[in-house]
Symmetry: D2
Subunit: 141 residues, 4 copies
């Protein structure tokens, strides 16, 4: 079961002196999914390297690391609301979704054998969906 913890993302977005051009609910969901997926991918890459047969997991480690980097960058960008540039946000969210799709597919292949890959695939799929949803929400805003 996933953990329920205290975080301040939504509160901080509401406390900003300028409103957002993005759909607030989609934004908070995407921001939280990016933060969770970044952490999960760092952890999964590390767990993969410590498995008994890491040679089977080279692609998983690579995609975990790329996905963690793009999720982390996107979470930082979505945490800002001052003077946003839509083209930059869209490109970041698209890159994040692409990384989550690739990493999610690879982790799913190992999810039956390794619990860390199963959880990571779940976090990647949730983040990919949240990125796609934010893209749609933006288009209709």
């Amino acid at each position: 079961m996933a953990d329920t913890t205290i975080h301040h993302e939504a509160e901080m977005l509401r406390a900003h002196p300028r409103g957002s051009m993005l759909d607030q609910q989609a934004l908070v969901r995407c921001l939280q999914a990016c933060l969770d997926c970044a952490q999960t991918c760092v952890s999964c890459a590390d767990a993969c390297s410590a498995e008994t047969d890491p040679k089977m997991l080279v692609r998983c480690i690579r995609l975990n690391n790329d996905c963690a980097d793009l999720c982390a960058a996107t979470a930082r960008i979505l945490s800002r609301q001052a003077e946003p540039e839509p083209a930059v946000i869209r490109a970041a969210v698209d890159a994040c979704a692409a990384a989550c799709a690739a990493c999610g597919s690879e982790c799913e292949r190992h999810g039956k054998k390794m619990e860390h890959c199963r959880i990571c695939a779940e976090a990647c799929r949730a983040c990919e969906a949240a990125c796609r949803e934010l893209g749609t929400a933006k288009a209709s805003a």
Copy 2:
């Protein structure tokens, strides 16, 4: 009120093929506090820059940014459990606590006027405490 969201930090730590040398509860609390504080500080720096009088907030922006960088690095380090080097973990957690202490003090000075600084001070203080607690837990392990 802070948000309650779904995250996978504790689950991922439990799914790792190797156990941790650190106290698991203190580790999860510190990891979650670092993730939350990193996000809050990125958001607070951005909100400060968009305030009506950003010149009063130069030090706050600077410390927000430094604190976000050290919290993010520490969260990544605490997400790993393979072959840990205690001296590196301790130094990262100490640097994170120092940044949270400095940023928390500065944000508290502006917390009555600006809600984002009030929330950020809270996240910094929680992260500083979690870092100190992890340091103590390690020493007694």
Copy 3:
């Protein structure tokens, strides 16, 4: 005048146990440009916040920060050669180019008044060009 310093990017790419699918010269140029632009943008955001009139520079600070995040993530992704996923690399490089384009344009507006914006615009334009070049090099590989 820009600085000439010792770096190991190209050496490390050559020392990798697996070859790259990317054009090596275009890859090294893009990697170096991303590293330089990430650093320059962090520095420019900080310099902007310390100027006598930071209110004129809110958009510059925002774009500096977004650009730094995407350049840093892209530099990390381009530093890896194990089991690359072309769709992820392409999306990262595209997002980086979009951020460099937006930040470069904004910095150019302030480049006559502020030397840090002038240098940063130069780094952004060089990185944008290197990203576009790598995209073309990939397509023809």
Copy 4:
């Protein structure tokens, strides 16, 4: 042989509206060493995972990743000059030196067999020395 490339670190530090409290030459050397070491460590971790026997390199991968995170955070902190907090800078530089020391020692163990570890050990040792030098320069400022 290491590469000679164009970077803007020193130029950007000189273009800042506020002077630095740190010794400028030691600062530039440390900043450049952190940027180089962060990149080298990301690249070395990836190369290690793709080696024929990655099981021998789990500790190297772990320390590469931790070192990359602390070097990157420290490079960002050293890129800022507005309203510095000495305790935060000192703690970051100390944590970076600790990570470089641990990673450098581990990479040296593999340097005869693997060129990427030999280069990475060199970058770690240079960064550790630059961090120690900056610490001394600060104390005498």
